[in-house]
Amino acid sequence: MSVLSVNNLSVVKRDRLLFSKVKFNVVAGSLTYLRGVNGAGKTSMLRVLAGLVEPESGEVLFQGEKIQDCRNDYALSLVYFGHKLGVNQTLTAVENILFWCDLHQVIATTEQVYKILAQLSLVGLEDIPVANLSAGQQRRVALARFWFKKNAKLWILDEPFTALDVQGIALLNQQIKTFLEKGGAVVMTSHQSLQIEYPTTEVTLEYNI
């Protein structure tokens, strides 16, 4: 049974029909790559999949159930990474991550956070306010959530590679690959071509005025 199934979904934003009657399934262990030119509604699609936005019509099912009906189970198994990083500027990186873990019922200790931040090559930047970090570094702090939420079944990523350097992109690709091999499902968009050696199903959104 598919992790996520989308049945004739149409979304309107600022009174403009972005796309209509879109239908696709996401099965466990699959990488879905959402393609489309700017303005085709990729971000809006991801926000609808995550449950942040109500679609105009159609439905999104998580393991056969509408996401509005199983909000808790869906929340426990979803990790969302949008344009806005979800990292507070005044707190330090460690505080941000610990707070995110508390929010998502993930047990994490400060040592684990320091270790993961070291892997994300953020050594020495862990305990200063995030405002002092560069855009790329802040993005790495936000990426740390993928290392922590072990029992997640679905990742939704909205152009995760922007502002990341080559080493960061390699790190993230590696993390996505291991997650997929362990049976996780990933839905993502990216303006760079994907370099993950993994079978990808593509969903293309046409741009209609």
């Binding site: 070291a118 892997q119 090559s121 050594v123 020495g124 305990d127 080493q167 390699a170 790190l171 590696q174």
Partner: protein, 72 residues
Amino acid sequence: MYFDGFQSFLDMGGYGLYVWLSFGVSFLSLAWLWLDSFFSKKALFKNVHAEQARLARIKVASENSENNGVQV
């Protein structure tokens, strides 16, 4: 000593409350101001130590990544 006893000194001709309140507030404010400045100086030095610790951590990390290749 102008006052004949400690009691009348405390009483301040009936205005004890106001006099002691004024002197109390003045010297408490001075003390608070001094302590605040003093402890923020301490905090600044603590900041410098934390900064040094950070630099040390970065040096250690960069040494590790040099000797076992770029850590992916």
